[in-house]
Assembly symmetry: C2
Homo-oligomer: 214 residues x 2
DNA sequence: GATGCTGAAGTTGTATCTATCATTGCGTAT
DNA sequence: ATACGCAATGATAGATACAACTTCAGCATC
């Protein structure tokens, strides 16, 4: 029996190792071997190797020939780089969107809905769900850029941010502040004022940066 | 004898398939199997599989389970997306650099040297070498952003552009125009005028876009 | 003529085996 | 004490074997 269940062994290995990295269970700098993961999941080394290669491509590990795989340490500058890149990407997306009345209206409608969702989840004390909605808010901005390359790049940034923020548990109070900031961002978009958006976003992300590096 | 020579089989497979994609020998939409490449290079399927995974991560192929690997077709919108993203990245980099006098000076010095190299190679009728110097000019801009995530993203964009531009052979005349544009970009940086840079770059990339889609 | 079955061919997914490489620790000579 | 050589250990890289899945052609059946 080669495939004991529906999900491929390679994917299982990938998910297992990736989630352990993102959650900080595997710390940066740590060395891990294929055999170790293979034993843990009761699969052979081949699919584990596959997973390692994917993770290396994403920049989460680095493979050293014949020696092992090292979990990429979080660079000192990484929080800055992520925030800087997000500023660039989200601002660029909005500048592109507000050039068109129709695209602006579509984005504004989507974001309005999302903000309502955020508020509902805070009211429900569903902070995990709130975090997802928060992520969706920013994803929606990026998607509106309608540039497939940028959308894909943003997804990798998000993983990195999750990894850095793993320890930060949002509180109700912080969440409400964030919703307020999102509302202000939305207003700027609705007014098709990209410069104001840029400034507001920089302030918003500055706070996120402070959370990441503390 | 497992490793018959110094370069890893996996890397050979990767380079072989990637270069064939970038050069258009493997057309978008084409299906290719692991065994095919393995036979061609006289290696086993294992390293070929590795190469396919890397290429999928770069977006150059898509793997269909138990069916084969398809070369990702060049999307109709890809030229636009690449040019759009380059505009964003290079402008962002310059805005960041010109905020500091010291970084501006360093970048200007590097670009001056590069432009001289471009001129020399045109004078030598070394158009392949010129194309490399051209690429270096823009890479230097991006590197100056000092944001590792952005630098990496730019590298994937460059591959895509090479793939689209595979048929375009630069002529002396075009090359000289481009050098002129680079000189103007450099002047804008030296003057620490990011807005002017942005406008000049947009014009410069617009011409590149026209080459890509023709 | 349409539908469904069946078997063959082709492909991937995984396990396993061997060769090679890198590191480490120990014994020995200097 | 230190440096050197060398075997033991542990890891990967690659080859090979085989099972499972996809597709499709050909044929039987309705």
């Amino acid at each position: 029996m080669v495939e004991k269940n529906s999900v491929a062994a390679g994917d299982r290995a990938y998910e297992d190792v990736k989630s352990r990295i993102l959650e900080g269970e595997l710390a940066g700098g740590e060395l891990i071997s294929e055999g170790e993961v293979a034993d843990r999941l009761n699969i052979s080394r081949t699919p584990v190797r596959e997973a390692f290669l994917r993770l290396q491509a994403e920049g989460l590990m680095k493979l050293y020939p014949k020696r092992g795989a090292m979990i990429t340490p979080i660079a000192r500058s990484e929080a800055r780089d992520v925030v800087d890149a997000r500023n660039m990407l989200e601002t660029h997306a909005v500048r592109s969107v507000v050039a068109s009345e129709e695209r602006t209206e579509r984005l504004v409608a989507a974001l309005r809905e999302n903000i309502q969702l955020q508020k509902d989840r805070i009211a429900d004390r569903n902070l995990a769900g709130y975090a997802l909605a928060d992520a969706d808010f920013h994803s929606a901005l990026i998607s509106a850029s309608e540039n497939a390359l940028i959308i894909q790049f943003y997804a990798t940034l998000y993983d990195r941010q999750v990894r850095m923020a793993r320890s930060s548990v949002p509180t109700d109070v912080v969440a409400e502040d964030v919703v307020g900031a999102h509302q202000a961002l939305l207003d700027a978009i609705a007014a098709r004022d990209a410069d104001r958006f840029e400034q507001l976003l920089a302030e918003h992300l500055k706070k996120i940066h402070e959370v990441l590096i503390r």
